[in-house]
Amino acid sequence: MSGFDERLKQIKSQIKETDVDSVKERWLEASDHSDLHLIDVRERDEFVDGHIEGADFIPRGLLDLKIENEVPDKDDKVILYCGGGTRSALAAKALEDIGYSDVESMAGGFGSWKEAGYPVHIAETLDEGQLTRYSRHLRIPEVGEKGQMKLLDSKVLMLGAGGLGSPAALYLAAAGVGQLGIIDSDVVDRSNLQRQILHTDDRVGDSKVDSATQTLKALNPDITVEGFETRLTSDNIMEIIDGYDLVIDGGDNFPTRYLINDACVKAGIPNVHGSIFRFEGQATVFDPKHGGPCYRCLYPEPPPPELAPSCQEAGVLGVLPGIVGTLQAIEAIKLLLDIGEPLTGRLLSYDALKTEFRELKLQRDPDCPVCSGDPEEIEFIDYEMFCSFDG
C-alpha cells in the first residue's frame, strides 16, 4: 500500500463517516436543520456543475480560513462532502484538529449522491466578469457569492434622482443591485450640479431620468434601470412600486414623501428615508411590516404650505446629501441582504457643522392613520404641492 493510501486509511479510521442516505434524510427531509451545516469542499467548477441544494461552498483549500465565519460554534454538527469522499475525509480530520467536535464526512461523495438518484441542484452563479467586479464583496462573509446573487436579483426604487438619490443610486448600481427604478419628472438644471452628482454640465436641460440612466449604466452595465419620468400621484404609485423590494426616499417635497410612505406600507416594503436641510440631515428606515414605525407615526400630517416655502429658498450644503444618501444606500444593502441592524425605529440625525451624529428613538403609533390598520384599505392622499418646513 502506498504512503498516501495508508495515511488515508488511518485518517478514515479516526473520523466519522456517514452515507448519502443518512445525509438525504437529515438534510433534505428534515423540516429544520438549522443546527446542521452541510459544506461542499470541492473546487468551484465542480460546485457550479451541480451540488446538494442549500449546501455551503468552501473549497478545501480555504476551509481552515473560512470555517469560523460559516460555523462559529465548534460544537455544531458539520457534514462535509467532496467528489468521492477522499477530500472530505481529509478536511474532516483538519477540522477536528482545529477543535470542531462533531464533523462527518459523506462517504462516496457527490458521485454516490448522484448514483443514488438524489436531486442535483444547479445554482445560478456569477460569471467571470462578475466575479472580478464584485470580488471585494465576495471576500466579505456577510455578502459572499450568495449575497451578491441576492443583490443582483434585487429591485430598488429611487424616489428622486436629486441630491440624495444621486449618491444612493451610484453606490447601489456599483454594488450590483440588479434593477434600479428612478422616479423623477424634472430636467437637469445647472443649480442641481452643486450636489446632484449623477448629472453633468453637458446634460443641463436633459431629463434627469435619462441622465441618471446614462451615468448608472456607464458605471455598471450589469444592471438595468427603469425610468419613470412622471410625478408620483395616487393614480400611478401602486403600478410603479409593483415588484420592488424597497424604496429609497430622496424626495424634495412633502406630498410625494407621504404618498411613497403610504404606498410602501400598503405594499409591505421598507422605505429608507433621508432628508436634508442646510447642514443637517436625517435618516431612518420605515418598515411597519417588521414592527417599525412609518413616516406618519413620526409626522402624522405634513405642515401646511404657508409654513413650508419652496425648496430653492432652503439651501443645502452640496456635500451633505452625499453623507445622508450613502447612509440610505447602506441601509438598503443591509435590508436586501438581511444583515446587521437596520435603522428601523431609530432616527439618525447628522449635524455637519458640529460633526455630530445623534440617535432618537422612534415608536410605532398604535393609532397611526396609515400603518395601524389593514394595509389593503389604505387610501392615498394627494396633498397640495409644496416643499420644506422653514419657519
Partner: protein, 91 residues
Amino acid sequence: MSVSVRIPTPLRKHTDGQEVVEVDGKTAGEVLENLAETHPGLRDKLFDDEGGLRRFVNVFANDEDIRFLDKLETPVEDGDEMSVVPAIAGG
C-alpha cells in the same frame, strides 16, 4: 430646573441663531411654553391654535418621543436634553 433644548436649523432664526437654549420647567410642556415666551417667534411653529403641539413637530425628551411618554406632561429634570425635530422634506 434647567433643560437644554436643541433648536433645529429651520427654527434657529427665532433663537438668534442659538442651537441650544437653556430653559426652566418641570415638564416638557412647561419648558416649551417658557421657550415660546422668551422666543415668541417659535410659538406658532410649535403650538397650534388650541395650544397643542403641532403634528409636524416632534419633541424628544433625551432620546424619547414625548408623544409616547406623557406628552406635554412628561416630567423633565435638571440637566435633561430636549430636542425639537420638525419634518424636513429636502432631498
